[in-house]
């Protein structure tokens, strides 16, 4: 789902950075407030976890496989702010150290997956957990996959509208959102189910583990 460099216009990615930078700052401040001196170790550990989750591939019947995003699980386990910062950090390491993913698009990806994915998952879970916990968790995982896909679809889709050459030809990503939105969202709506089940089972396993540790 990572948008690579070169598909987004400067107006788009600059706006995204303009939004992301203050949010990163707020996130770090909030974390410092909650965790005091342990903010950094927390961020490092959850980021590494996030990285592993993004590598995780689930083989599907029929020979194909999907990569998890793990964002739903991170958000319900550690809260949306930690999740947002960890996703941003992993994206930064991936692009700047491993050369995978985009740098100009880092802020867009971080906002879509990290911020919106985490908050939607966290919100969805909070909303439904009183009704039925498993449903709430599956929904959280599903939202964490579909919401960022929708944001990415729209962001790509507005490119031909906001960045045109002299004759109206697209300068960056050439398809408008009528094409991108369904192309990105529909597959993710299906993948989101797998993500949802992993979020549900993963959290249940974690709770079981924690309860036993606490004894």
């Amino acid at each position: 789902m990572h948008v690579p460099d070169g598909f987004l216009s400067p107006a788009t990615y600059m706006t995204a950075y303009g939004l992301a930078v203050p949010l990163w700052w707020v996130g770090v401040r909030r974390l410092r407030h909650e965790l005091d001196a342990e903010t950094l170790p927390w961020l490092a550990a959850v980021s590494a976890l996030c990285f592993v989750l993004m590598q995780w591939s689930i083989p599907l019947p029929g020979g194909s496989s999907v990569h998890l995003s793990g964002i739903g699980l991170l958000a319900v386990l550690f809260g949306p702010w930690v999740s947002f910062l960890a996703v941003s950090l992993v994206l930064a390491v991936q692009s700047l150290v491993l050369g995978v993913g985009g740098v100009t698009t880092l802020a867009v990806n971080a906002l879509a997956m990290g911020l919106i994915g985490s908050w939607m998952a966290f919100g969805g879970w909070r909303l439904l957990r009183r009704v039925h916990e498993p449903t709430a968790l599956v929904f959280a995982g599903w939202l964490a996959t579909v919401a960022p896909a929708a944001v990415v679809g729209v962001t790509l889709g507005v490119q031909p509208l906001v960045a045109q050459g002299e004759e109206g030809e697209p300068l960056f990503f050439p398809f408008d959102w009528e094409v991108t939105l369904p192309a990105v969202v529909v597959p993710h709506a299906l993948l989101g189910v797998v993500e949802g089940v992993v979020t549900w089972w993963g959290r249940s396993a974690w709770v079981r583990l924690r309860v036993r540790h606490g004894e």
Partner: protein, 192 residues
Amino acid sequence: MESRGWSRRRLGDRLGLVVYGGGVVGVTLVHDPVWLTAAGVGVWLGAGKERGRLLRRALRLALPWLVVVSVGYGMVAFWSGLPVGEVLLRLNLRVGVLVLLTVVFATRVSLLRAVDFSPTLVWLFTMVMSQMVLWQRLYEEFRLALVSRSPGEPDLRTVLQASANAIAWFADQALATARNQAQALRARGLLE
């Protein structure tokens, strides 16, 4: 005491970071295919001895996206009579140059040295990266263990169940690691 070599290299890495940042923004501001080609050739020549390998790596990363988008747009534009040639040329060149630039930067410049004005950032990147390497190896072990304990391809339910449990283990490890690191930092007088 820092060695002279280290500080000279650090200066180079910071310069690299600045040049890279400027380069990336620059490439998204230029729309003339001639200039984009020139930028690509410039980056490629500046990539040093490993330029062949780096170019192959960049192509491997960029091609899947480029092929899908180019073929798709080519067909749509052909049927509806939109401009094709220059749009696709520009798009492919731009994405190609940017990916190459990033690959060259990631190989040639040490991010750790470039950000070492902030001990916090250096620590964060070091911890994240060392954990990433360690856990990636463990992830592979989890995968192989499931294969070796299954009579055939494990079914989706087993895979999901095993993944969820392994993920819970990783999450638990993350907590333990965070706690240990906080203690280690405190023992070295870094947190208070």
